[in-house]
């Protein structure tokens, strides 16, 4: 069907005027479409950002068991407080799963042990890779652990992968380890700062 557009068109000698008109019309259509999209974008942007913040807020409050956690964000690093002061940290971390990116929120107690792991967004196959999210026991394995973790599938003893969802389990594990790295670096930087 697209073939017809590409058929050579016979143009008269002074063809540039109709050609210009065609170009102008196409340009007008493009401009109107771009306008419509910009309008929709402007309308939906606050809501989309609120969605993202809300999923993060739910993940954090879930990990720390607080109704309304008080936290500030610095580029994917969250410091979580209650009335008495800092209770822990959260790090957002992304790794490639089977169906696309898998984004986690990893919560740490103030001493650096993992307090909980929640999946913020994923596009894994329902019934397969998505089981890393649906099976609470899997993410629960991370609670209380610290340092770099290794899956049983890869010769480690820290975490058991879900059979049939190895790729997704690996992605989760990789994301958690990345998050731990970020936390270690941050804490080192701040304690270095305190010493000065």
């Amino acid at each position: 069907m697209t073939a017809t557009t590409n058929a050579p068109q016979k143009k008269p000698q002074a063809a540039w005027i109709p050609a210009l008109m065609i170009g102008l019309r196409l340009l007008l259509i493009c401009a109107v479409v771009a306008g419509i999209i910009s309008f929709v974008y402007a309308v939906t942007k606050p809501k989309a950002e609120a969605n993202l913040r809300e999923t993060k807020r739910i993940a954090i409050s879930d990990i720390f068991g607080m109704e309304n956690p008080d936290f500030d964000e610095d580029n994917g690093f969250y410091t979580v407080r209650d009335a008495s002061g800092t209770v822990g940290y959260c790090v957002e971390s992304t790794a490639a799963g089977f169906g696309g990116d898998l984004t986690l929120m990893v919560g740490y107690s103030a001493d650096g042990t993992i307090r909980g792991v929640r999946i913020v967004s994923h596009s894994e196959t329902p019934g397969l890779g998505a089981r890393v999210k649906d099976d609470p026991a899997h993410l629960g394995q991370y609670t209380g652990k610290s340092g770099t973790l290794k899956l049983n599938k890869d010769g480690g003893t820290d975490v058991d992968a879900i059979s049939g969802a190895t790729i997704s389990s690996r992605a989760v594990n990789q994301a958690v380890n990345q998050a731990t790295d970020v936390l270690t670096k941050r804490l080192a930087a701040t304690s270095g700062g305190d010493a000065q």
Binding site: T2, N6, C30, Y41, T166, I167, R170
Partner: protein
């Protein structure tokens, strides 16, 4: 260098566009009746996807990102791809007639091949640099070519079969594709 090779291996076999990701299934099922045409289509797609991988990367980095117009990427990419296909067609017709006569009839079909658009979008999503973008476009298209040529060989033999009437034509084609996908799924656990 190792990095690029791993990326290419993954794109060709582990995350094969057809059998693992379903990008580009329409031409895969439509233009795979004969091995020759399948190879022609595969080569045309490879050509366009390699070039479009680089061009869309430039468009995104230097046009969309500086002006915070990332949300227009789908529109921009499909326009770039359509224009690019048109341009490549004119260029080949004028300067490389031999290649044009081999690939020409497949080129117009490529604009609506979702493999091309999805590779452009994946390049942005995965945050590739320019070399990775071109390598990814090239190797994903190579995976497509591999899939479509192997499948065309299979179909040529299938024509001799006499299936139940209800399965004639498309259903049988799909089931053969399913079996081939099963074979390819042995790569899906490979982690590099």
């Amino acid at each position: 260098m190792m990095n690029i090779l791993l990326l290419m291996f993954t794109a060709i076999l582990v995350e094969n566009f057809i059998f693992a990701k379903f990008y580009g299934c329409c031409p895969f099922l439509g233009v795979s009746e004969k091995p020759d045409t399948a190879l022609g289509m595969g080569m045309a797609v490879t050509f366009v996807m390699t070039v479009s991988g680089g061009v869309t990367w430039f468009v995104y980095r230097f046009l969309l990102e500086p002006f915070h117009l990332e949300y227009l990427k789908t529109v921009a990419f499909i326009l770039v791809i359509a224009a690019l296909v048109q341009f490549i067609e004119m260029f080949l017709r004028r300067f490389v007639p031999a290649l044009y006569s081999a690939l020409g009839i497949y080129l117009p079909l490529i604009t609506t091949n979702c493999a091309v658009l999805s590779s452009a979008l994946l390049i942005v999503q995965n945050n590739y640099n320019f070399i990775e973008a071109v390598a990814f476009g090239f190797s994903a298209a190579l995976g497509f070519t591999l899939a479509i040529t192997v499948f065309a060989g299979l179909r040529a033999r299938m024509n001799a079969a006499d299936p139940p009437r209800a399965f004639k034509g498309f259903p049988l084609t799909l089931i053969a594709a399913g079996l081939l996908a099963m074979a390819f799924s042995c790569f899906s656990g490979v982690h590099l």
